[in-house]
């Protein structure tokens, strides 16, 4: 990762990147804005807060100068696209893992009620989260804490639901495995559903125009929060699974 310049404060920079992402500004334009801040502060000796004011205000004033039909913006993922992506991914993972399990240990596969319920939960959460809630919550530390808690609880609920093994759709293990593969491929391959994920660090990285190298896309503390979330959630899920009586 590119190391930050000494004179460019992380929190200010992180806020600028986050805010511009939420406004739909493309990675290249964000990289350009960051490089301008870097160059100006290097020459003036000012810190970004003094030279450019609050980062979110600066982000909004910059975004306001871009044309709606220009190259600086990208259409955000629509709610129904988010729902399809989330639901298909969840169901795809469920079918893939269950199909693989039955291929290895024998027996027929089945799409269970838990898998379907989990896919529905993720679809609803994604539909609500992506178009609107993210923009509202990711503007403050407290909002981000609420968002983190909500997503963590969602993950726990999904894992718990996955234990609901009542079969709904019975099919051969190989077919179930291929169904999972097909769902994941259709969602994430770039020329299919993956093209819906245009706006984000995966497909639209923030690039420094001076070096052509990618700059860190997520704020540092967001990255840390995401990293230590998973061990905690996995531990919680393990406890839940251990507590659920076998059916």
């Amino acid at each position: 990762m590119t190391r930050l310049r000494r004179h460019l404060e992380d929190p200010w920079r992180d806020t600028l990147v986050t805010r511009m992402r939420l406004l739909g500004v493309r990675g290249a334009a964000i990289g350009d804005a960051l490089a301008e801040v870097d160059a100006h502060c290097a020459e003036s000796g000012e810190v970004p807060e003094d030279a450019f004011g609050p980062a979110d205000t600066y982000a909004e004033s910059l975004a306001a100068t871009y044309r709606a039909d220009g190259e600086q913006f990208d259409a955000p993922t629509r709610w129904w696209q988010a729902a399809l992506l989330g639901g298909a991914t969840t169901l795809g993972v469920h079918a893939l893992l269950d199909g693989l399990d039955h291929l290895v240990h024998g027996g027929a596969g089945a799409i269970g009620a838990g898998g379907l319920a989990a896919a529905l939960v993720i679809a609803v959460v994604a539909a609500v989260w992506v178009p609107g809630i993210a923009r509202l919550l990711l503007r403050s530390v407290s909002g981000m804490a609420v968002a983190w808690l909500a997503l963590t609880l969602t993950m726990v609920a999904v894992v718990a639901l996955g234990q609901w093994a009542t079969p709904v759709i019975r099919l051969p293990a190989a077919a179930e495995f291929l169904l999972g593969l097909g769902l994941l491929g259709s969602v994430w391959l770039p020329w299919l559903g993956g093209r819906w994920m245009r706006n984000g660090p995966l497909r639209d990285p923030v690039v420094d125009p001076r070096t052509g190298r990618e700059r860190r896309a997520l704020p540092r503390w967001t990255t840390l929060a995401l990293l230590w979330t998973f061990p905690i959630v996995l531990l919680a899920c393990g406890v839940i699974v251990a507590l659920i009586p076998p059916q």
Binding site: D32, E36, F52, G53, A64, P209
Partner: protein
Amino acid sequence: MVTEGRWPADWIRGVLELAVLAVLRDGPAHGYAIARRLEAAGLGTVKGGTLYPLLSRLEVDGFITTQWSGGDGGPGRKQITLSATGQAELVRRSEHWAAFTDVINDITGAERPRRP
């Protein structure tokens, strides 16, 4: 936030684009150099939070072009150049501004200050 100086902020806000185009008439410059030229000309301190969105608007409108250049041991700079369209716009706005100040001077009875 616009500027820190002797002129009212709303006056500066109205003429800043014209002033930036005029500064670039002397040759390409990067952002901080433009701010320094404006300050040296007596317009006061123009903060980055005001200048760079303004430059972005000028670029979207086609009045300036920009290009990143490598720095000499330091961070690269974004060179800003007045385009042909910008040059024509500068002439148009300058003439418009001159006519406007004549009107204001007539209304107020103020004489146009003579440059030493």
